[in-house]
């Protein structure tokens, strides 16, 4: 969130240099068991994290840079790994269990690395019998004549099997990205034909003219729309709805703070409701799917919606308590007329069919990402969206998510993620404590960083806790992932926390301290709710 004009601020310049330094620093430090590829991965991770924090370049640019560095430095076809293979040789049997091996293969701790399969080695202890220049004679029961002994134990292919570069590039066509593309195109068309505004008009009408119910209506409608559209576009639209109401208030009336805050809160919280509600959900779902814990559109709603509803009702009560309404009634008049042109009607049909197919995924079993191509294809086939509309899609967000997914793949693949969680006794922490810590860390980070970035940085750790098994039986990958997604969306204490917050703050109606006061309470209550749901409710609705 910064303007594109002008030069870099001192913070950005600091970030630029720190980030570049971060890329090389893993090669300057002794990092114990981290493989060479892990060091590259760590460099990319540190650089990305610093760039995302200080924003010397836009955050989507960092994501694209991550993918570029990964295909360049980590992929099988990049200059680092093309034309290389792990140097191995077979031992020469001199007598029973006594072998002659190249001396370079013997490591300082008297072990040998034997390649088990591609990307995997096993350390075998040996007893040195005799050193003989180029060769060493060792004895071992575990060696056999066809053991593939690694002759260069420091080689960059030890314990690393590079992915094809297409795996990193392919993240842009990851099913979850396609799901978002479908959502983006529906949203684009909705804005074009004013469906979002007209829906708001209809949905708000049952809430009458009493201020406390108007605010409830505004929050529910905002949440419902942001569950399917971008939180930001929803917040911008709702701001145009509340400004005329605020105009009816006396200048000193504090109720306007509540009105203006209700929009970003509901937009942020509403995004939790569905997989396409907000980008952090995509990062989490992509990572979970990669590890066999896919979650359907329907199941996500079953998991998330009850929390969203409680959160919204709590926020409603909180706003009314902090900023009680002063007038008896409001005149809520949203201008607009339902567009009944053939194209608009086409949109309504496509919109309705897509959403229906999404939320009933459990009944018919067609994956939501496949359904997402229905609006993609139908909206352009019917000329409901034009070429310029397609160009207007938020491609930056798609790249941001793709970069996040790609970073996660690299961190897992290089062993970086497992290395990062090693050295801490996670098992002693206990599952509930772990959920609490992840929730707290995610909310805290996400208040200052982009929600998507927070999910990107935390998700590989969650996956590593799963694959390494350090947490034991009690660990539930699916629920821990959901905790991350939900917690990232519950950070809203500062104007920079989310774009909807920035929009609400930019109206000049609210003060930072009001936003902080409400946001901190929501964050704390949110973490408590997450904890309660992950202990009592989510285990019931996930397998």
């Amino acid at each position: 969130m910064k303007s594109g004009s002008g030069g870099m601020t001192p913070t950005q310049i600091t970030g630029l240099f720190l980030g570049i330094f971060g890329l090389v620093v893993p090669f300057l430090l002794p990092l114990g068991t981290l493989s060479f590829a892990g060091q590259i991965g760590l460099g990319i991770f540190i650089m990305a994290a610093i760039f995302w924090m200080f924003e010397p370049i836009p955050i989507y640019a960092t994501s694209m840079l991550v993918i570029f560095l990964q295909i360049l430095l980590l992929s099988a076809q990049g200059p680092m790994y093309m034309d290389t293979s792990l140097p191995v040789s077979e031992p020469v049997e001199l007598q029973e269990q006594t072998w002659q091996i190249p001396s370079s293969a013997l490591r300082d701790d008297n072990t040998l690395l034997v390649a088990v399969e591609e990307g995997e080695t096993e350390a075998i202890p040996v007893r040195v019998v005799e050193r003989n220049g180029q060769h060493v004679i060792v004895s071992s029961e575990e060696l056999s004549a066809d053991s593939a002994i690694v002759t260069d134990p420091g080689h960059r292919l030890v314990d690393y099997k590079p992915n094809s570069y297409t795996d990193y590039l392919g993240t842009l066509a990851n099913p979850i990205i396609i799901l978002f593309l479908g959502g983006f195109m529906l949203a684009e068309a909705s804005v074009k034909y004013n469906l979002d505004k007209n829906l708001t008009r209809y949905l708000l009408s049952p809430f009458g003219s009493k201020p406390r119910f108007i605010i409830l209506g505004l929050m529910l409608v905002t949440a419902v729309l942001s569950a399917f559209m971008s939180n930001t576009a929803t917040a911008a639209m709702m701001v145009t709805v509340i400004l005329p109401i605020i105009g009816q208030l006396e200048p000193g009336d504090r109720f306007k703070f509540g009105l203006a805050l209700s929009i970003p809160i509901a937009a942020n919280v509403g995004g939790i409701t569905t997989p396409i509600g907000t980008p952090p959900n995509a990062i989490v779902i992509a990572a979970l799917t990669e590890y066999g814990k896919s979650i359907s559109f329907t199941d996500w709603i079953i998991v998330a919606a009850p929390l969203v509803i409680v959160m919204l009702l709590f926020a409603w009560w909180l706003l009314l308590t902090f900023f009680p309404p002063s007038t008896e009634r409001f005149n809520l008049d949203i201008k607009g007329k339902l567009n009944l042109s053939p194209k608009a009607i086409g949109l309504y049909v496509i919109f309705g069919a897509t959403v229906l197919l999404w939320i009933t995924e459990n009944q018919h079993g067609i994956p939501s990402s496949m359904v997402a191509f229905l609006p993609v294809a139908a909206l352009v086939t019917g000329s409901i969206l034009s070429k310029s509309d397609i160009r207007n899609l938020p491609w930056d967000v798609l790249w941001l998510m793709a970069g996040g997914i790609s970073l996660g793949i690299g961190m897992e693949k290089t062993g970086l993620a497992v290395w990062m969680i090693s050295g801490f006794d996670w098992g002693a922490m206990g599952y509930v404590m772990l959920i609490l810590v992840f929730g707290l860390v995610a909310v805290a980070m996400s208040n200052f960083l982009s929600n998507t970035v927070t999910a990107t940085l935390l998700m590989p750790l969650v996956i590593s806790l799963h694959t390494s098994g350090v947490m034991g039986e009690s660990f539930n990958l699916l629920i821990t992932g959901i905790v991350i997604a939900v917690a990232c969306s519950l950070a809203m204490a500062l104007p920079i926390s989310t774009p909807p917050n920035a929009i609400a703050m930019s109206t000049g109606i609210i003060r930072t301290k009001d936003m902080a006061k409400v946001g901190v309470v929501i964050g704390i209550v949110g973490i408590m709710l997450i904890l309660a749901y992950s202990v009592f409710y989510w285990p019931l609705v996930t397998n």
Binding site: K2, S3, G6, L243, V397, T452, P499, I503, T507
Partner: protein, 167 residues
């Protein structure tokens, strides 16, 4: 409020009138610095200087009668220049004849015509409306202008243009 690099230029030969114009739109000055000129010649110099410093001109309020020159001619000239073409142009006038008015509309693509005397509210509203259009047309990040300018129009533009996206 952070100062932007978008300037308001007021061109008026009578100092009291110029002061009145500046006073009437002073609440915009926090974000949009105001520059003044007493003649067309001075206006050209000011514009030249601002453009050299990498600044932009968002709004030009110009008197009809300037010493030795016609305000309408100046506005036409600025309309034809690439640098000042995007600026919103307002003609302040006591008594412009039909010919001049038509010329201003057709050739200077005048955005607003304010007859003297004007009220502060009127001038403020015109300035806010036109600067809102200017930032929506010219600026990439329009959020910072929401507090000073027309917030409803700017949010509407965020909604349709997606200049701010979810992160």
């Amino acid at each position: 409020m952070e100062r932007s690099d978008i300037y308001i230029l007021c061109i008026e030969d009578e100092q009291e009138v110029l002061d009145a114009v500046v006073r009437d739109i002073e609440k915009l000055e926090e974000q949009f610095p105001i520059e003044t000129a007493n003649s067309a010649e001075e206006a050209r110099e000011v514009i030249q200087k601002l453009l050299e410093d990498g600044k932009k001109i968002g709004l030009i309020l110009c008197d009809h009668i300037l010493p030795g020159e016609n305000g309408v001619e100046l506005l036409i000239e600025l309309q034809k220049s690439d640098d000042t073409y995007p600026a919103k142009k307002v003609l302040l006038t006591g008594q412009a004849g039909l010919d001049d008015t038509v010329k201003a509309l057709n050739e200077a693509r005048l955005h607003h015509y304010i007859p003297k005397p004007w009220t502060r509210e009127e001038l403020q509203k015109v300035a806010i409306d036109l600067l809102t259009d200017y930032v929506i047309e010219q600026e990439e990040n329009i959020l910072p202008y929401m507090g000073t300018l027309d917030a409803e129009k700017i949010s509407e533009s965020i909604r349709t243009r997606r200049s701010v996206s979810d992160e």
